[in-house]
Subunit: 229 residues, 2 copies
């Protein structure tokens, strides 16, 4: 990782050696005190993915660990912005070419980009927590395939459709039932349950705090984070 | 940030309160011991951006700070993959729609996505170091506009074209001069020098270690990281 170069500057020739001081994953892990990984929360709208991811993030942060939640709020406004958001700064043609909508293809790309970003966070030694419905197995499996073995932790936040629909925190089920939203997961588009999730938690009968315990416990047992003293 | 829900599970109705325990930027900063930001290294191919970014990353990591380098190696293989890389898993139509090439539009999108990801890292309390030529002011200014005031730190790694071409660590200038690469920055495509960079370092007459000192010094003076004891 070294390249010897001769640079000319200010009229005199100087010898400059350029070293590429890349930080190794082991050095990063030692500095952080834990491993990086992706906790991929999946489940129906209203199942509590985002709440759970934020609660786990909060607990990890309180212990001094490096973690971050990727969710619709911070991704759909920037990285995966809709055409309408890109238009003003970048123009119509650019917005149409690169903006993401809600077609099946666009939703696959949405998840693919999120997976790629989560991978970068994991490489940076961070525990990335993602909270997206990600209803199709092919989407989740594509992200799993991107990551190093053991770095992708699929957490299925399970709750019956009836429970999620009764909660309906954003009023989306109501709109979907009224036909105002098409292809809504659970209503007129399928949710493909994980077959081999690393962890399944039951958000219909347990409080978020209990589910967070289970996630933290899993991370400790897997050796991703050290056990609490 | 609280939603009361009634969930039904296992035949009994339970009351579950869902709290959104988001970690605040201040809490994140306290845990990390420094602020998050984006150090955006820009300059000609061969000017030493990547070497410098990695050296600064190394020093920050050695002090226990949270930092990470985004460069072509980890971005063009995943997030901003070319069509050819997407084709196998996602099919031809998907690859053509979402794969990034090297047209002016695609290069703008490349930088836009990198900026959006760097923003996520900064939000996560991390010092993100990016090492891309990013030759156009409009690209860099678009990223600056995305970020909160003070979070975008433009570092111009300045070296005369002759010096970079003489170094030619990847043999790219030779190919560009031979006409094998078109629209190569500095040869047949412009590099627009930053007008108001937060920091300008001179890589033609100074070793990478000296430039890294200047970057670290800047971060300390700006209050992004604490002064070294």
């Amino acid at each position: 990782m070294e390249a010897k170069v001769t640079g000319e500057g200010r009229g005199e020739t100087v010898d400059v050696r350029w070293h590429a001081h890349a930080v190794s994953p082991v050095q990063r892990e030692q500095a952080a005190g834990h491993k990086g990984c992706v906790l991929w929360f999946t489940g129906l709208s209203g199942c509590g993915k985002s709440t759970l991811a934020n609660l786990v993030d909060h607990r990890l942060n309180a212990r001094g660990f490096r973690s971050f939640v990727l969710d619709g709020d911070n991704v759909r406004l920037g990285l995966n912005a809709a055409p309408g958001l890109l238009k003003e700064r970048h123009g119509e043609a650019f917005a149409q070419r690169f903006g993401l909508g809600f077609s099946a293809q666009d939703r696959d790309e949405n998840i693919r980009r999120i997976g790629a970003v989560a991978e970068l966070f994991a490489q940076a030694g961070i525990i990335a927590l993602t909270a997206f419905i990600s209803p199709y197995r092919r989407q989740r499996d594509a992200v799993r395939a991107m990551l190093a073995p053991g770095q992708f932790v699929e957490v299925y936040v399970r709750a019956p459709l009836e429970v999620c629909e009764q909660r309906d925190p954003k009023g989306l089920y109501k709109k979907a039932r009224a036909g105002e939203i098409k292809c809504f997961t659970g209503i007129d588009d399928p949710y493909e349950e994980p077959l081999l999730a690393e962890l399944v938690v039951d958000s219909a009968s347990q409080a978020a705090e209990q589910l967070a315990d289970q996630v933290i416990d899993w991370l400790e047992k897997a050796g991703t984070i050290p056990k609490k003293k």
